[in-house]
């Protein structure tokens, strides 16, 4: 390994210092992508900055408006938080699908996002939930929507010296629920061939008042398919509305054919997953209300 230096700062300001003095530095949250990359020769950092000793980066806080998840909080700790899985069962499903129990013990939602794989499980779930990224850097703090954060395969919007601090998910109302589904040939230990995150809000008589549909592994980045959400709003989620959402998702998909699946198959199956994820999110709302 090429790593020459390991540092574990305990404050954000110290971490920013380590990231902005010109050294080839990589941040380490869970390490499940970084250390594999180093092993396979695709990542080559000289300095590794371990973020897990910085309180803001591992904390999970809930206030009246939103849930704030530290970027380095592990999937395991998010999944075993007393509230997050019940607020966002779909987001929890996505985290629960990443790698193995062992990987979930280390990997973080923030890392999954920064790694910016087109097939990352947590990203469509975050986009569906309208999550924002809190970023700090030399120029101070700012926020941006998750769908804008990933700009290409393995490319994120962070600029030199910037750091993802936390993910901010608006608190769902009792009439809102999410779902995440993916297709992999195996049940576990696999990379999504297609993934779908959906968040729905229904009013008292079952009419959809808000909907966000996000698709993963079928384009260079996870996409927010606005037309799919629009096809659902104002409907009772009848077959025609769902079919329109499915068609919109398939239309947005522009997958490649590779070792994990053909373009045709990915396009087909992402539509299947959109329909199923809508059904699952709706079921959650209905069950919560009844």
């Amino acid at each position: 390994m090429s790593i020459q230096e390991f540092v574990a700062p305990d404050s954000l300001s110290e971490a920013k210092g380590f990231l902005s003095d010109g050294a080839a530095a990589s941040v380490l949250a869970g390490g499940t992508d970084l250390l594999v990359g180093v092993r396979l020769g695709t990542r080559n950092p000289e300095r590794v900055v371990d973020l897990k000793k910085i309180p803001e980066l591992t904390a999970i806080n809930i206030d009246a408006e939103a849930v704030h998840i530290g970027a380095a909080a592990s999937a395991f700790s998010i999944l075993h938080d007393s509230d997050v899985p019940s607020f966002f069962p779909g987001f929890a499903e996505a985290l629960d699908l990443i790698g193995s129990t062992q990987i979930q013990g280390r990997c973080s939602a923030g890392g999954n996002l920064c790694n910016a794989s087109p097939a990352a499980d947590s990203i469509p779930a975050l986009i569906a939930n309208g999550a924002q990224c809190l970023i700090t850097g030399p120029g101070g703090d700012h926020q941006m929507p998750v769908e804008d954060f990933v700009v290409g395969p393995s490319k994120n919007a962070l600029k030199e010296g910037e750091l993802l601090v936390s993910l901010i998910l608006p608190r769902p109302s009792s009439q809102t629920a999410d779902a995440y589904l993916r297709l992999t040939p195996r049940t576990e230990m696999d990379i999504a061939v297609a993934g779908v995150g959906v968040s729905l809000t229904l009013d008292g008589d079952g009419t959809c008042t808000a909907a966000r549909v996000s698709i993963g592994a079928v384009a260079p980045t996870a996409l927010l398919v606005e037309a799919a959400g629009a096809a659902l709003v104002g409907t009772q989620l009848d077959a025609a509305a769902i079919e329109a959402a499915v068609a919109a998702a398939r239309q947005s998909a522009c997958p490649i054919s590779d070792k994990r699946g053909t373009s045709e198959y990915r396009t087909h199956v992402v539509g299947v997953l959109v329909a199923r994820a809508i059904a699952q999110a709706r079921r959650r709302i209905v069950e919560a209300v009844s």
């Binding site: 040939p185 195996r186 049940t187 230990m189 990379i191 198959y265 087909h268 199956v269 997953l273």
Partner: protein, 420 residues
């Protein structure tokens, strides 16, 4: 077949093995091996037989369907038995295919109705089983324990089977036996642990050495009692004559004064190998929208001759079935146009994980091998032969599409359904 860059293992076996389960009067089998820019192929569990069996077993099932017959009953009608001759001209000794098919037909799994949306497939499989060269040395220790040295690496529990066989012959406790894998300078030649030969062939060397030990101990007891060696009997771990007896432990402790160290070796080229057969039953459910297949129930039935350690026989059956299911559903090498492997890791070379499989039921059928003192037959390889056709048939019954190119992965199933 594709040899990879170099030739090696002969291509001749598999052709006839595909047909080995059934009485065939007229047959021709031709094969070609071709060089390509890929690594040299190497032996893998029942080399080549699962591949050729896929087609033959699926054809048997299709034919049974055409005749309106139960696929197991159809196989039973055509199953080889003692005295039949295979394509290589070798007559079968006492074999257990019929018994396996009968057990399968009567099995609760086969009797159970197929669940809604699921499909069921059955298939039989054969493996020749190897004999080859083995050696064993037994050292009787001064406290009445026994060390066993063999040169057969233990991959799946063969030290336990060696100890069991020695314990059976000698009548001493299993716990007093210490089997070890000795280095090349410490024991006679052993061929590889492979071909389902170790418990059979190395085990036979152990049995022979243990029998020598019994004979020598009887001789020593006879000398002690001043009787003819022939009148001394061995049972329950002791030599007996009339009221007198000398235990294995006593003879071990007194070896120094009764004739010296008790060390026995046996080396052999085992000619006792006997073919083995298995029958698998697979239930599967295909999600017709995504093309994903779930194996919902799986049963393996196999003739083991005599199962020395049944738990490890079951383990071979379960492990072979799991590997075969992996081949059937997902495993494959993917090369790019430059000959570079695209999936050289466990993430994208998808072997089954724990959540991909159900419990795998096993039934050990025991039709003893008449050529082996304990009736042992090899067990490790047969269980990888039937899974591909069994799974492929279950997929067909569930999804309604018949695929003849493995693996039956989701994109392939969806493409076939869309074509339909």
């Amino acid at each position: 077949m594709d040899s990879g860059a170099y030739s090696g293992n002969p291509a001749s076996f598999p052709a006839f093995m595909a047909t080995a389960c059934y009485k065939l009067t007229d047959a021709r089998s031709t094969g070609r091996a071709v060089y390509t820019n890929k690594p040299k192929i190497h032996a893998y569990r029942a080399p080549s037989v699962p591949q050729v069996t896929l087609g033959f077993e699926l054809a048997m099932t299709e034919l049974a369907a055409e005749l309106g017959m139960d696929p197991l009953a159809f196989r039973l009608k055509n199953a080889v038995e003692e005295g039949d001759v295979n394509m290589m001209g070798a007559p079968y000794n006492r074999i257990g295919l019929r018994e396996c098919l009968e057990v399968a037909s009567a099995h609760a799994h086969y009797k159970a109705p197929v669940a809604e949306g699921e499909g069921r497939g059955v298939a039989a499989g054969y493996w020749i089983n190897a004999g080859l060269q083995s050696s064993a040395t037994l050292n009787v220790l001064s406290d009445g324990h026994l060390s066993i040295l063999t040169g057969s690496p233990d991959i799946g529990g063969s030290r336990a089977s060696m100890a069991l066989m020695a314990a059976e012959v000698l009548g001493i406790p299993f716990e007093h036996i210490h089997p070890q894998i000795a280095a090349t300078d410490a024991v006679g030649h052993c061929d590889v642990t492979g071909g389902s030969r170790t418990t059979l062939a190395t085990g036979q060397a152990v049995i022979q050495a243990a029998e020598q030990c019994v004979a020598e101990m009887c001789r020593r007891a006879a000398a002690e009692w001043e009787v003819e060696a022939g009148v001394v009997t061995w049972s329950q771990g002791a030599a007996h004559y009339g009221e007198q007896s000398l235990t294995f432990e006593a003879l071990a402790r007194r070896a120094g004064t009764m004739g010296g160290p008790l060390t026995f070796s046996s080396s052999l080229t085992a000619s006792s190998a006997a073919p083995s057969f298995g029958v698998h039953i697979c239930d599967a459910k295909v999600d017709k929208e995504t093309g994903r297949t779930t194996i919902t129930r799986y049963t393996t039935i196999q003739d083991a001759g005599k199962a020395i350690h049944p738990a490890y026989v079951e383990g071979q059956m379960q492990g072979g079935a799991a590997q075969g299911i992996g081949w059937a559903l997902n495993e494959e090498y993917l090369y790019d146009e430059n000959g570079v492997l695209q999936n050289p890791g466990f993430l994208d070379y998808r072997i089954p994980v724990a959540s991909d499989l159900p419990f795998i039921d096993t039934v050990i059928v025991e039709v003893p091998n008449p050529l082996h003192p304990f009736g042992v037959k090899g067990v490790g390889e047969v269980p990888i032969v039937p899974p591909m056709p069994a799974v492929a048939e279950a997929v067909y019954q569930s999804a309604g599409v018949r695929l003849r190119e493995m693996p039956l992965n989701p994109p392939k199933i969806v493409a076939a359904l869309q074509e339909q």
